[in-house]
Amino acid sequence: MATIHPKLSDELSQTVVSSTKSVKIKIKRSNPNVNSEQKFDDFVVPIEKWTTVLDVLLDVKSHLDHSVGVRYSCRQASCGSCGMKINGKPGLACFTKISELDSDTVTVEPMDNYPVVRDLAVNMDRMINNHKKVMPYVIREDSEIDAESGIREFLQSPENVEKYIQFSSCIKCGLCNSACPTMSMDKTFVGPQALAQAYRYIADDRDKGKNKRLKVIDESHGIWRCHFAGSCSQVCPKGVDPAMGIQLLRGYLLGIRD
């Protein structure tokens, strides 16, 4: 067992003396930059009923093996950094409690459909590039900064907000893309995350970029390669329903909504 800097262990330890329960965590380890070896390392960590998978991983890093590679930041399901496969299902480590997994052993692996950087951290370039491709911002000729009157606002009605509000909760964690069967087969597929964002901006009546965006997604590896497996919506931790966004977008392309 590696000893680590005492200050770090003091700060990060969530081990409470009263704890009587523990969990075995199996962490998939690999470092493709060095070699192709993949293995699972097992650790036993005490838990409380509020302990999350991320808490366990940080406990392992603090007390047992500080070399475990994991990406995280906010610890409150808002930065989208800590996506991983938890007992086979994509989820946020900071938003998944050990108690809800109902299992003495928890297996964590990097998300599918992304190249592994090291251990649990994956490279998310593909998702970010596709996200940029659909122009995730309000497009229009005029500006909110008006030369004569100073700054003005593009007003938005509550009715219009209703049309896209759930899609604006996306934190770009990439779990939807990792759950998508087309993503695993078609390495050029645009993916549910970007498609849901294309819908979010097209449905916004301040936006005038509908045709530009539809053109981007209406190609041979675009929206039509979704076959409505629906796994994206199953795993989204923020209640976004990318599968529905994709069907709504199809409505524009099939001419049944405008």
């Binding site: 087969m185 078609d186 390495k187 209406d218 041979s220 039509w224 099939l254």
Partner: protein, 117 residues
């Protein structure tokens, strides 16, 4: 290789699927006018091809299913592998297969009606 916009291709895909479904229902109902084994007897097959209305229905069904089926195959193949050369080959191959199947099926109907069978 972008010959048509993907949305137009998919409209054709769904349209041909629904059309084929409709014509297949009529086709099966026509088969119910006689016993199953009689449908496959030589004289009956030739008689079907010689009845103009039914021959047109079969010809249309052939076109709809060839277009739908080969486009479906194109979609499956595009998802299995990617790359410009591969995708070009898939598109050309599927268009060629579609044309060949339509030509071969129509040939039987036309030859029958020209008294060549």
């Amino acid at each position: 290789m972008m010959v048509l916009r993907e949305s137009i291709i998919m409209k054709i895909h769904y349209g041909t699927a629904l059309g084929a479904l409709f014509l297949t229902v009529i086709h099966i109902m026509m088969r119910l006018t006689q016993d199953f084994h009689e449908s496959l007897e030589y004289e009956n097959v030739i008689a079907n091809y010689e009845s103009v209305g039914y021959a047109i229905l079969l010809g249309l069904l052939l076109i709809l299913i060839s277009v739908h089926g080969f486009n479906g195959l194109r979609v499956i193949l595009l998802e299995m592998n990617q790359g410009p050369t591969y995708e070009k080959l898939v598109t050309i191959g599927c268009l060629a297969g579609m044309a060949a199947l339509i030509a071969y099926g129509s040939r039987t109907i036309i030859m029958t009606n020209m008294g060549m069978l």
